[in-house]
Amino acid sequence: MKRELIALILLALLIIGAAINLACVDQLTHLVCLNLNRSEKAAAYGDFETARKSYEIGFSVWQSARHYTSVFLRHPDVDAAADAFYDLQQLLLQEDSNALPAAYARLRYHLDVIDYMEHPSIGTIF
């Protein structure tokens, strides 16, 4: 009975851990996307200084969660998001307003995929 109880507690802990992980990934992607939206709006108005600042905040949020992302998320997804971050940074420095919307969309897509793939649904389970 003791072993069954331990197994039940362990299973419950795993499920709680999974729920915490979902909350973490939600918060991380939400915070990064919030700053990316600000950055994109500023870039659309030609305010590249503000766009770069907002981008830097978003990127630092992503970088500060490096340990979390490498332990809990699939490494190819994390690498793809990092590549998209650096591509966007380059375009912001070049102030290339034609290529910027696509770069923002690509980064947001990678973050969406990371968030979506962590949420249990018919699509993600099967």
Partner: protein, 226 residues
């Protein structure tokens, strides 16, 4: 992480169901859930080791989930007979009073060749001399011969035999097993006397020494290595 848990549970129960439907033949001395667990864990553990792109936690979480499932299923089936039958099945009588039960053979997908092979491997060639052949839930075939074919026991012959005695190891490869010495109610003084009687000065010269309940000693001195 939640996906990993969901996937693990789905694969575990799908495999359990598949193996349950495949029948006992596939198991070979393992309970159904043990077999499924063994098949899954070996593969789950290998993936994060081979592919560095998969976080180690994706291998550990399913293993922990499977461990919990196994313990809970084992615990639940101890309490409920219905659940036990559902998960592990029940023994099948393949031979009853010297007659093959064809329906059970068919149900378990057990061919005549396989039955004959099992019988031969256990020293039986004549089905009519077998009282029962039972296919257990772990896939093992247990055979009980007809009483006329069973070996005669001492009780049937009216003989009185002494009870068997279990030998306890006191010295193993030069080391005294003090827990065993205490268990049989003996002490080191008794052991030293027995060593001297057998021509050894210390326990380190002895390879194996056992004593049974009747106090009989088996003594093997260490051979000198070339």
């Amino acid at each position: 992480m939640a996906i990993v848990i969901c996937r693990t549970l789905i694969v575990y129960f799908a495999l359990l169901l598949t193996m349950r439907l495949l029948g006992k033949r596939q198991l070979g001395e393992m309970e159904l859930s043990e077999f499924v667990l063994g098949a899954l864990i070996a593969d789950l553990a290998a993936h994060p080791l081979q592919d560095m792109g998969i976080p180690l936690i994706n291998g550990l979480v399913p293993i922990l989930t499977l461990f919990c499932c196994e313990i809970l299923i084992a615990g639940a089936s101890m309490k409920s007979l219905r659940l036990r039958i559902a998960f592990f099945g029940k023994p099948s009588m393949l031979i009853l009073h010297g007659q093959i039960v064809q329906q059970e053979m068919h149900k378990n997908r057990f061919t005549l060749d396989e039955l004959m092979q099992e019988l031969r491997s256990q020293g039986y060639t004549d089905i009519s001399k077998i009282e029962y052949a039972i296919l257990e839930t772990d896939g093992k075939l247990n055979i009980i011969p007809h009483p006329s074919e069973s070996p005669v026991t001492a009780a049937q012959m009216g003989l009185t035999v002494q009870g068997g005695s279990y030998p306890t190891i006191l010295i193993s490869d030069g080391r005294i097993l003090e827990a065993n010495l205490q268990y049989v109610g003996l002490d080191k003084c008794w052991l030293t006397d027995r060593l001297r009687e057998n021509g050894a000065d210390t326990a380190s010269q002895v390879f194996l020494m056992t004593v049974n309940e009747a106090g009989e000693i088996y003594f093997a001195k260490k051979e000198a290595l070339a």
